[in-house]
Symmetry: C3
């Protein structure tokens, strides 16, 4: 069994944003030399997500609005208890749960085994600083 | 390390619906000959989900209503930016994020290592056409 | 390839609650002797979650309130069809979908390959009885 590990560092200039990281994951897979196995891609931070969906800017605008409705930003410690710690990012911990921490992708014949529109995104909900994504691939 | 790959094709006659695919996943596992490992089951389309929950029709009716409240169908491009592309399925891309893209199931002693009520479902949110589910099993 | 399996039993005294199970998962990993691979941790029950986020009590209080807003407890069979089966826990099946069934964690150099604040939680939405969590680790 082979294994491969790599981290990506991302810095999203806004509080919320989505970045297509599929090319970097494909590059990591090529480096690994693994042709059959599983590829885990996860946010290493708890106010960020990794998810798979469509690379369409209108959809990402929809996601931004929808997540803001489901878990609005509010720095007040009266609205979110978490913000009593001095943080203002409680909303980001909620948005990340909706979008998920990680994806596991099949590796088949040396490639990411994807349907026609699947793309891997980093979802940032408390940006403007460096954050890391972990890629771990096992197989042979 | 062994690996096994199979796809299922599903066609749900309605826009939204849930299909128990546990028997097909068990069949794939038997075909694989793998007795210890991990089994990934994922939707290959971005308006569909694979998730684990209860095989109870009342619950599925509840899920339908709940997902419709969280992310209502609306073909209008004024409500969802994604629908400016000519699509009408923006809501489906949201519903899929709530229910998830994939499950990873432990394989132990040649079976799906499940609790008493766990069943694997395909969740369709933009049906009436063929879609695929990927099963990838690694182990030995 | 090595593989390792262990279950944890949890009993949360309230209907809803969150328990940090990171120490138990680390103990299982040490027992396994696996140094490179993937670690699956999943709820074996369909009214519970395993997820990764912050070990901060204020945040957990926020999650409780937020999940109660997204999918309120209501024993009535008129509100949730699932409760026509004689159950009163339909809300718990919804809350679990928001928080997720499972996490897959990379194992690197014999440890859980975590970012600075990642901790694994068991999320209970229909407690006051014993439930199980499955840990399955594969690698070498």
């Amino acid at each position: 069994m082979k294994n491969f590990r790599k981290t990506l560092t991302l810095r999203v200039p806004a509080r919320m944003g989505f970045v297509n990281i599929t090319p970097q994951v494909e590059e990591a897979l090529a480096e690994s030399g693994i042709r059959e196995g599983l590829c885990l891609v996860n946010a290493m931070h708890i106010t960020a997500s990794v998810f798979i969906n469509d690379d369409e800017p209108g959809l990402h605008e929809d996601y931004r609005r929808w997540l803001e409705r489901l878990a609005p930003f509010d720095a007040s410690p009266d609205v979110y208890h978490h913000n009593r710690t001095g943080e203002d990012n409680a909303d980001a911990h909620h948005k990340r749960q909706v979008m998920g921490r990680e994806v596991v992708v099949a590796v088949s014949e040396g490639g990411l085994d994807f349907g026609p529109w699947e793309q891997i995104f980093y979802g940032e909900f408390d940006g403007r600083r460096n954050k890391r994504v972990l890629i771990k691939i096992i197989g042979e």
